[in-house]
């Protein structure tokens, strides 16, 4: 940020706006500020962990129903040491990434086309209505028949579970682009192609990215259910095998690991979103 005195302040009547840009004189950095809600966050987690520890260590809850935090931690240490956990995370992440990227590559362009050109929407709409209510696991029999139980089948499950949501978000955000901005652009001499690249695409981008972020979490649930039913590796398979061996601590390790992985993916998506939408930065703060 430049200092306000660099700007020709004498010409500007809008001092409030300048203050808005420069920010109030001296605020401590964001991480330093005292936040009461953060204190409660920490307290509630601490209380939960205490209750979990006490109830399992004191034998109020039997270990076969719920392992203690210590058991889970030592199991986690074991699978981290052997590299099994990391391998599972990588296998699942790769499937999610490929299926999700494929779904985006198909659904985003198709959604934009459907948003701006009604015949395309009319042609595809019936299929969207029929396919949308189907949970992705209902595609498991057909995809296994067509693709076997290899990687492509997992990717197909992720694809089938994701593309419709991306499509719906994209259509909606394309149609929501302010018609006044399209008018203004035409008034400034824009042709059809420029309207698309200069107005509709950037105008729809925030909505499309929001849709992709929501869908990313859905993609993760797709891959996990696919892995639980038929897979040799991945986090879903790890949990399922652990259940079969009666290794409950490993089940919990898998669940925690899924949470963390999806959270990290979400954080990454947030970063990318901020990078792509510099004009929304100010609105967010």
């Amino acid at each position: 940020m430049r200092q306000p005195d660099e700007r020709a302040l004498t010409n500007i009547v809008d001092e409030a706006a300048v203050e808005k840009i420069a920010g109030p004189a001296s605020t401590p950095p964001a991480w330093y500020r005292f936040r009461p809600s953060l204190v409660l966050n920490v307290l509630s987690v601490f209380a939960f962990m205490t209750l979990w520890t006490v109830s399992t260590e004191m034998g109020w809850v039997a270990g076969v129903f719920l392992p203690s935090p210590a058991a889970v931690a030592s199991e986690a240490q074991k699978v981290i040491a052997t590299g099994d956990l990391w391998g599972a995370v990588v296998a699942s992440s790769a499937r999610v990434f490929l299926g999700f990227a494929l779904a985006g590559a198909v659904a985003v362009p198709l959604g934009i086309l459907m948003g701006v050109w009604w015949p395309a929407k009319a042609l595809v709409d019936p299929f969207v209505s029929l396919l949308r209510p189907l949970p992705s696991i209902t595609w498991i029999p057909l995809t296994m028949l067509w693709l076997g139980i290899g990687e492509s089948q997992k990717i197909a499950i992720v694809f089938m579970g994701s593309w419709i949501y991306i499509l719906l978000y994209t259509i909606e955000s394309t149609k929501r682009v302010d018609p006044l901005l399209i008018r203004a652009a035409r008034n400034l001499g824009a042709g059809d192609f420029s309207i698309m690249t200069e107005v509709i695409l950037p105008g729809a981008l925030p909505g499309i990215l929001a849709g992709l972020k929501v869908t990313l979490a859905i993609s993760w649930s797709c891959v996990l259910s696919a892995e639980m039913i038929a897979a040799q590796n991945g986090l879903g398979a790890m949990i399922w095998f652990a259940k079969d061996w009666g290794n409950l601590p490993l089940v919990l390790v898998g669940m925690v690991c899924i949470s963390i992985t999806v959270l990290v993916a979400d954080l990454l998506a947030d970063r990318i979103e901020r990078l792509l939408l510099p004009w929304e930065r100010n609105r967010r703060l």
Binding site: R2, V13, A16, K20, A184, R186, L188, N282
Partner: protein
């Protein structure tokens, strides 16, 4: 002065629900002369925005014609540049990106675009804010960007649809004076919509008072108040006399409008 923009027997009917039609404008004829500053003055709902939207080619008349230099306007017309009340800036473009837009559409090379934009950003006194996004600016500053953006496009006519209505009274006053200064330099034809008599008296060469719905030309008042006009101009006897004259026309129409909005049972 030759006529640059004209409405010839224009009628505009909007179909609201099935079968329900509203006549916004009825048989309106109006000539705008080249280089003049013309204000369309009228109460809300008199069809003045509809009229300016037809000048821009955003909507077509139901009957009659809108003409630019004798040629009918049948689609969005870049030679009639519009300044919107709600700014209509591209939120994803910086001040510079917005101001350069029309030049980019004309495929002007980037370096030249930049220097032209620089000049107009200077003209509206926004230097130092080139790289800010519109959401980071106040309303008055955003309207300056809109003004610079349309001036860069160099249209033959500037259409302004209540551009300062959303601004506070003090910012509005400053913007009016700046607009006059800019028009002095560019000598552009301006069609300016307002419901504010003081604004019309400060800005216009001619004031066209529109009647209540359906909109027609109620009166045309020549505004010969000396230029440059400042806040002090509003204290002169000529100003007061002219204001009284305009108000007389406006008052009749506002009363009609209020009457029409009343439930018929009363």
């Amino acid at each position: 002065m030759p006529v640059i923009l004209a409405a010839d027997q224009v009628t505009k009917i909007f179909t609201v629900n099935r079968g329900n039609a509203i006549m916004a404008i009825k048989n309106l004829s109006l000539d705008v002369e080249e280089g003049e500053f013309l204000c369309l003055l009228g109460a809300s709902g008199c069809g003045k925005s509809t009229m300016i939207n037809m000048f821009a080619g955003f909507t077509q008349p139901t009957s009659g014609q809108v003409l630019l230099r004798g040629q009918p306007i049948t689609r969005i017309e870049p030679r009639c540049g519009m300044v919107f009340q709600s700014y209509a800036l591209f939120p994803w473009k910086t001040v510079r990106g917005n101001v350069e837009f029309a030049l980019k559409m004309k495929r002007v090379p980037a370096a030249e675009r930049r220097s032209v934009a620089e000049r107009f950003i200077h003209m509206v006194k926004l230097n130092g804010f080139e790289d800010n996004y519109p959401t980071e600016l106040s309303g008055g500053m955003q309207q300056r960007v809109t003004l610079a953006r349309i001036l860069v496009a160099n249209p033959e006519v500037l259409l302004m649809d209540e551009p300062f209505a959303a601004l506070d009274a003090m910012t509005r006053q400053v913007m009016q004076e700046e607009l006059l200064a800019i028009q002095e330099q560019n000598r552009k034809t301006v069609v300016f919509i307002t419901h504010n008599i003081d604004e019309a008296l400060t800005l216009a060469d001619r004031i066209v008072v529109l009647s209540a719905r359906p909109g027609r030309v109620k009166a045309i008042v020549e505004n010969n108040l000396p230029r440059p006009r400042h806040v002090a101009s509003q204290l002169t006897p000529q100003y007061a006399a002219l204001k009284a004259e305009v108000w007389q026309y406006v008052e009749e129409e506002v009363l009609k409008h209020v009457q029409a909005d009343r439930p018929s049972a009363i």
